[in-house]
Subunit: 113 residues, 2 copies
DNA sequence: CTGTATCCCCGAGGATACTG
DNA sequence: CAGTATCCTCGGGGATACAG
């Protein structure tokens, strides 16, 4: 089993990666379908989005529900363990907003939440 | 200027990287010298530690103070903007602790804070 | 709509040795 | 003590095409 020297090290190992925190922070706003996530994250390739979702699922942070129907319909949501990340995600988000304000950075549409 | 679609994206761009959150979370516990950081993070190479410290400094999250004396003495501490990350770092740390407990992961000495 | 399957590149990160 | 300097590997991540 992998061992760490610090809890933050462990956290980074699980939610590190360019897009994982972004995915999680979207999911913390509610259930999302695959296509919704794609639209909210124009910068990520399909490959990476899928791959990160799979890893988050494997790590128990995200649940994937495939609903039966005429047309493919998949929903992603946070698991309980994922929900526990909410404070961290929110804090990260808040810091990003402050930082953006302080440096004159603006966000492109689509406005997020 | 670089543009983002989400504040979390911005945050990750600044504090992303395998060791940056770990460095910051150590510094949030107080001023550290270079060697102290190294000892607290046995997993990181000197190159990466220095490089990440330089980037954090350039991004205004960390201040570096080189004290004059018989022997080299350098101190690192959080800037005001770095301090604002405290809630995020703490939340990340707390989550890591919970996660470790839930999965039976333990941390190697040196015990961290 | 929700993904796979490939191919490929670049740079983050590591190992090691050396220095003022 | 507090770093540089080099060299090198590896896989994260991107682009594109295709599929059920």
């Amino acid at each position: 089993m992998k061992r760490y020297h610090c809890a933050v090290e462990l956290a980074v190992d699980v939610i590190g990666g360019k897009w994982k925190p972004v995915i999680l922070s979207h999911l913390k706003e509610g259930v999302h379908r695959y296509g919704e996530l794609r639209r909210r994250m124009p910068g990520v390739s399909e490959k990476m989005l899928t791959q990160h979702l799979r890893e988050l699922e494997a790590d128990g942070l995200v649940r994937r529900d495939s609903l039966q129907g005429r047309v493919p319909h998949v929903e992603y949501r946070l698991t309980e363990d994922g929900e526990r990340l909410r404070p961290a995600l929110q804090a990260l988000y808040d810091w990003g907003v402050q930082r953006a304000a302080g440096t004159g950075i603006t966000f492109e549409p689509s406005p997020i939440h």
